[in-house]
């Protein structure tokens, strides 16, 4: 057992905001089905609609543009699968995405491809920035949808969605962005970004798991993935998760209040760790775009030290991080994101992601700085790397 437990894996999921816990505790008492007309139902409905308003405020949308779903993956699936079934008479049967998207986009696009849609996967540069020239060439009057993430979960690179939206709309296609990692960390404004669809997830910004949503620009039609009742204006059947949605609403309200100050604070913590590690450990690389990166995300490669080993030594010392190494996932391939940025496969195996959140403090950074150099030295000492 270790006395210290430091959570530096906030891009995987975040702890609940204390205000969210309060909100959930209260909302779970409102058991009424929001679809019911009676008092119990109305009480639940009012909290759901309040939550919708909070989320709309957070992303500068209209309330009727927010659809609640079961999370980011569902939202991404929902947008992409609007284009099924493929029809030969339809003019636009092409979907464009990037190679560094979340699996819920990549795998769904591959499904669309199997169903007969044309799929184009745009590459990224060494910093993880989508190649906009290539994207511009790929977008044409056959393109139905372009889906590019706002911020990458592994390396934190923030894409120029505003610019991409303009290119996409110039050709008459629709623009979707997966903003799951961005919400609550940076300012997200759907009007400024110019997107038609935007996915988000509650548990990435101190809300509960299993609740997310989709922004659907006013006037655009979207059909339900799940058939049944008329909940969410017929766009998602199934009893509305009242408490969960209320929790996300509270998380959005808190993000609205805290975001600006918090993102500066996370930036500082991240930078302190980055500088400290660069100073104390030889031969390390920063992955991602240091000029346009999520505050709080730091992805480093430690050549000669394998990621799972680093992760587990840190785990034993009470520090939770994640790795792009294949060994930690059970797949045989290391991070598709790092490989796409041209990182050597060895450096992908030796990558660690630190992601800060609202409960981290400066002494967490001090602690990591006090233990990680020794861990890397130990792993490198027993590595075949040391005889090269």
């Amino acid at each position: 057992m270790n006395e210290q437990t430091i959570y530096l894996d906030n891009n995987a999921t975040t702890p609940l905001h204390p205000e969210v816990i309060k909100e959930l505790t209260n909302s779970f008492k409102n058991f009424g089905n929001p679809s019911s007309m009676h008092f119990f139902g109305r009480e639940s409905t009012s909290r759901v609609e309040w939550a919708r308003q909070q989320v709309a405020l957070l992303i500068n949308a209209r309330e009727d543009e927010i659809l609640f779903t079961g999370g980011g993956s569902e939202s991404n699936n929902m947008v992409l699968k609007q284009f099924l079934p493929v029809s030969a008479t339809r003019e636009r049967n092409k979907v464009i995405t990037s190679v560094i998207e979340h699996p819920s986009v990549l795998e769904t696009v591959r499904e669309l491809e199997k169903e007969g849609m044309e799929a184009v996967f745009i590459g990224v540069d060494s910093k993880g920035r989508v190649n906009i020239d290539k994207l511009e060439k790929a977008v044409d009057n056959k393109t139905a949808l372009v889906s590019i993430m706002l911020a990458n979960n592994e390396i934190g690179t923030i894409e120029d969605i505003k610019k991409i939206s303009k290119i996409v709309h110039a050709s008459g296609a629709l623009m979707h962005t997966d903003a799951v990692q961005a919400l609550g960390k940076i300012k997200v404004d759907v009007i400024d970004l110019g997107v038609d669809f935007l996915s988000f997830s509650g548990h990435k910004f101190y809300g509960p798991k299993g609740v997310g949503g989709l922004f659907i620009k006013h006037g655009l039609k979207i059909s339900s993935l799940i058939h049944g009742g008329h909940q969410e204006n017929g766009r998602r059947a199934g009893t509305i998760n009242g408490p969960g949605i209320a929790g996300v609403g509270k998380a959005a309200e808190m993000a609205n209040l805290e975001l600006e100050e918090e993102s500066l604070r996370l930036d500082k913590l991240r930078n302190k760790l980055e500088i400290g590690l660069m100073d104390s450990i030889s031969n390390i690389y920063i992955n991602g775009d240091i000029d346009s990166r999520l505050p709080g995300t730091l992805n480093l490669s430690f050549p000669g030290a394998e990621g799972e080993s680093i992760l587990l030594y840190l785990d034993i010392a009470g520090v939770a991080v994640s790795t792009g190494s294949a060994c930690a996932t059970g797949s045989l391939e290391p991070s598709h994101v790092l490989i796409a940025t041209g990182v050597d496969i060895e450096n992908a195996h030796g990558s660690i992601r630190f992601s800060f959140g609202k409960f981290n403090v400066e002494k967490d950074v001090d602690y990591v700085l006090s233990i990680l150099p020794g861990i890397i030295e130990k792993i490198r000492m027993m590595s075949t790397f040391s005889s090269k």
Binding site: G304, E306, S309, L312, A326, P334, E346, H349, M382, T384
Partner: protein
Amino acid sequence: MGGSDWVYTETVKDHFMNPRNILMDEAEFNADGSGTVGSMACGDEMLVAIKVENDIITDCKWKTYGCASAIASTSILSVFVKGMTLAEGYKITPADITDQLGGLPNHKFHCSVLGDRALRTAIDDYLEKQDRTNPFKGNTAVIICECKEVTDQDIEDQVKRGVSTYEELQEKTEIGTVCGKCKDKTLELIHEYNHLYGGSHG
């Protein structure tokens, strides 16, 4: 953090945290034979170096780039191989190493247990340096399915007993039921053994 929630056994954890017999100074150790298998690009690379007296492995040191199970498996191998004859060392299988560790998660088995192969390479190297003929090479079964540890000899045995299709072989041995990347090689061997032993699909 809660050690009991680890995906690995306490033995793995112990050998990962306190690795035994790391090769610190190659010149000083002056190995009689050594071998490297795997590659850093694949995520696991192992170097095993041995000292030999009268065909007995008297010392074994190693270096490993890899995950916890790769490190622990080489560490424990270096402990239990000492005192073994070359013949015994040559016969060590990934399962022997895994058993010593008290088991490994399934997905770790085929990628991280390379120690037995590294040891065989070190023994081959020793015999070659001694200018001796290698009595072990070729007599050893070759693992075809790394996930389920099925060898060419296992396949041969099954075909001798009447198995003639891939599906039948899977039923008997679970070959290719995890990652499936051995399927082509397996089909080739089934074809070959069917041909040799008169299987119906020969």
